[in-house]
Each structure stands twice: as C-alpha cells, then as structure tokens.
C-alpha cells in the first residue's frame, strides 16, 4: 500500500483490491480531500463516490479471478475535482447497472443496488474507459462552486 501527494501531480494511492484495503482507501479519500481544501459538501461527495467505486471493484470487478491492484487518484483544480479509479480487472460496464426504483414501497424495495446510483447522483461527470490488458479507468468529476 503506498500513497503519494503533491500539489501539482495530485494525490494517489495504490493497493490490492481486497476488503482489507477498504479502511486505508477510505482514510485516503478523507485525508486527500482535507489536504486539497475541499468544502464539506464536496468532501462528502468525494468520500461517498470513492467508497462506492472501490467496493464495486473489490466485490464485483475482480469477482471472477484473483484480486489485483486498484489505484485511486484525486486531483483538485480551480473549478473542479477529478477522481480516477483504475483497476486491472475484466471489463466493468457501469452503464449496464440497473437503475433503482426509488418510488417503490418498502416491501418491494430490494436491499442493495444503490452504489452506482449514488455515484451518478453526487458526481457531475462520470466516464468509463476499458483497455484490454490495461483494465478499467473510471473518471469522476465534481464541479466546485466557489
């Protein structure tokens, strides 16, 4: 597990994509937001998006094989913050995640399936790239309202 910080290069952390890495990844999200000077609402959105994306990679992307690396990077720019989550798992197609029925009553509401919806809602831009051999790269952008 390694982390690096720098004002121009942004901040990044790489570790094995397993559940045991989650505490470190989530601590990185909180501390990187603080170092970048993000306001409370933006920091909450960044923390939530990183947790949900990392859990997706750990629990689903590598589910078919041995766990590999996950890299989370955060770059703060004057008008936006950019998060990238990269892995070497098989192709993950986030646009195929089923949309939750937010109007369903409690009895028919499924338990789970909200992680991707939360990412899409708290972030302003979401894009995904997959390159065979290189893996997935999820890019999340949050606009800053200064």
């Amino acid at each position: 597990m390694k982390a690096a910080a720098g004002p121009s290069a942004g901040q990044a952390m790489t570790c094995e994509a397993v559940r045991a890495s989650l505490p470190g990844l989530m601590r990185f999200a909180i501390e990187a937001s603080a170092r970048a000077g993000l306001d409370q609402d933006t920091a909450q959105a960044v923390r939530l998006a990183i947790e949900e994306a990392c859990v997706n990679v750990i629990d689903h992307a590598y589910a078919q094989g041995e766990p590999g690396p996950i890299t989370v990077s955060i770059r703060s720019e004057p008008a936006r913050v950019v998060i990238e989550i990269a892995d070497r798992a098989s192709r993950f197609a986030p646009d195929q995640a089923p949309a939750p029925d937010l109007g369903a009553d409690w009895e028919s509401r499924p338990v789970g399936g909200l992680g991707w919806h939360l990412i899409m809602t708290v972030m302003d831009e979401v894009s995904h790239e997959y390159e065979p051999g290189a893996g997935n790269r999820l890019t999340l952008v949050k606009h800053l309202h200064n």
């Binding site: 923390r47 947790e51 949900e52 937010l102 109007g103 409690w106 338990v111 789970g112 909200l114």
Partner: protein
C-alpha cells in the same frame, strides 16, 4: 462507529456515533437484528452523531426496517444530520422511512400508533 442501546419501555433506542459505511454496516445490522430477535421490534435509531452514510448503511437500514415491520414494529430515525439526510433523499429512503426531529418524538410516535 460506536453503538449504545437503551430501552424506553417497549422501544429500543440505538444510539450510533460515527460513520455508517462499508466498514461498519455489518456491526450495525447485527445489533439491530439482535434486538428484533429478542422480540423488540420497535426501534429508534438516534442519528444525531452520524455524519456519513453510504449504500452499505442504507442496506442495513432497509434490511432492519423490513424485518421490523414484518414483525409488527418499525425502525424510525431521529435527529438525522443534513449530509445524511441528503443521501437518504437521493436514494428515495425518505418516502419509506419515518424520520423525527429527536429521539423523544420518535419514541412517543410508537405510543400514538
């Protein structure tokens, strides 16, 4: 996350402090379902010291709510902070959960019903 449980007659108050997320949700659901298994199906979750919730926490709340209502009780939330309320709202949980301004109001609501 820390959990403390106290009893007000037939209502169980679950006081939560910290984050309800992928690291802590299993502990919370274990504590709440444990109360349901003791036939204490009227639960109030005191969220006054919770500043962060993720989908794992939402899963814990919904699983508990379903179990409690099927037993004739309910899970009701008290003193939800603005950042947590925002996540509940964008997840459609405010339409299925009963929210109260404080623990006393949530506890009293069980007596009214």
């Amino acid at each position: 996350m820390d959990i403390e449980i106290r009893f007000l007659e037939e209502v169980t108050v679950v006081e939560i402090a910290g984050s309800v997320d992928s690291l802590t949700a299993e502990t919370l659901i274990g504590a709440m379902l444990g109360e349901l298994d003791r036939d204490r199906a009227r639960l109030v979750a005191d969220f006054s010291r919770v500043e962060y919730i993720s989908s794992a926490g939402l899963r814990a709340l919904l699983a508990t709510l379903k179990d409690a209502r099927r037993r004739g009780g309910d899970l009701r939330l008290a003193s939800v902070s603005p950042p947590v309320l925002r996540v509940l709202e964008i997840s459609g949980f405010t339409s299925i959960l009963n929210l109260f301004t404080d623990v006393d109001a949530a506890v009293v609501s069980f007596a009214v019903n």
